[in-house]
């Protein structure tokens, strides 16, 4: 329906409706980005992050495929009354694509197995450190923050 409207400038109302819908999609993508940024600003347990955002990556990929198809269909609409719709669609594709890059990078990191640890050796060394008094503690979370502060 949208591509028909775009191909025929006379469907002004349908075009305005289409622009509104795509604009809402863009706002929805912006909301997802904010939630993603907020989660990573706080820090998230990696497996829970993969569970939450793995499906979103698949949905985002599907959206990008559909957007690509639709943009191909309306490729000739620049310079017509439907130009605002095409512009909004391209912006949606850009926003979604940028979000997808960050999402995929974070998911790839969170999905990687942790570094391999030689558990027997860790136990040996850690026990030796404990026996030698090479452990330290902090009385409060604030002390821990100060005690783990770097040289900045």
């Amino acid at each position: 329906v949208v591509s028909e409207a775009v191909a025929n400038d006379r469907f002004g109302e349908a075009i305005r409706l289409g622009v509104g819908i795509v604009h809402e999609f863009r706002e929805s993508v912006a909301r997802m980005c904010r939630e993603f940024d907020d989660d990573l600003a706080k820090g998230v347990e990696a497996r829970s992050f993969v569970r939450t955002y793995g499906q979103l990556l698949r949905d985002t990929d599907e959206l990008l495929v559909q957007l690509g198809r639709l943009l191909e269909e309306i490729a000739g609409a620049e310079g017509t009354a439907a130009e605002s719709f095409v512009t909004e669609m391209r912006l949606l594709e850009e926003d979604t694509g940028a979000f997808r890059v960050r999402l995929a990078e974070a998911l790839s990191l969170a999905s990687q197995p942790p570094v391999p640890v030689d558990w027997d050796r860790l136990k040996e060394e850690s026990d030796a450190d404990f026996a030698a008094g090479r452990f330290t503690t902090f009385e409060t979370p604030e002390d821990m923050l100060k005690g783990l502060a770097g040289r900045d």
């Binding site: 347990e45 990191l109 570094v115 860790l122 850690s126 979370p141």
Partner: protein
């Protein structure tokens, strides 16, 4: 907090040396509180978070953002003294 944390000095020094911003350090601290000082029993005892059924260790793995890039934090904790309210941070890897 639920548990008093004891850090191997080598782990403390490693964490101190990380090139994190002040906000990144606050996130690191929050991760240590959530993953160790306030860790719930269900997480600590979940076999998925332990190297083996008889191991004295559990671990947590987190992802956070600092300075425009993503960081992962892997921490190993000796919980053999959990009954006494003490957990020992024995290993950390953050990159």
């Amino acid at each position: 907090v639920r548990y008093r944390l004891e850090f191997r000095e080598s782990v403390r020094d490693y964490l101190r040396g990380l090139p994190l911003s002040r906000a990144g350090r606050v996130r690191l601290n929050a991760a240590l509180i959530e993953g160790a000082a306030e860790v719930p029993d269900w997480f600590r005892t979940d076999p998925a978070n332990r190297p083996g059924p008889t191991s004295p260790y559990y671990y947590f793995f987190r992802i956070f953002e600092d300075g425009g890039r993503f960081w992962t934090l892997f921490v190993v904790i000796d919980d053999s003294t959990a009954a006494y309210g003490v957990l020992r941070i024995v290993y950390a890897d953050c990159h």
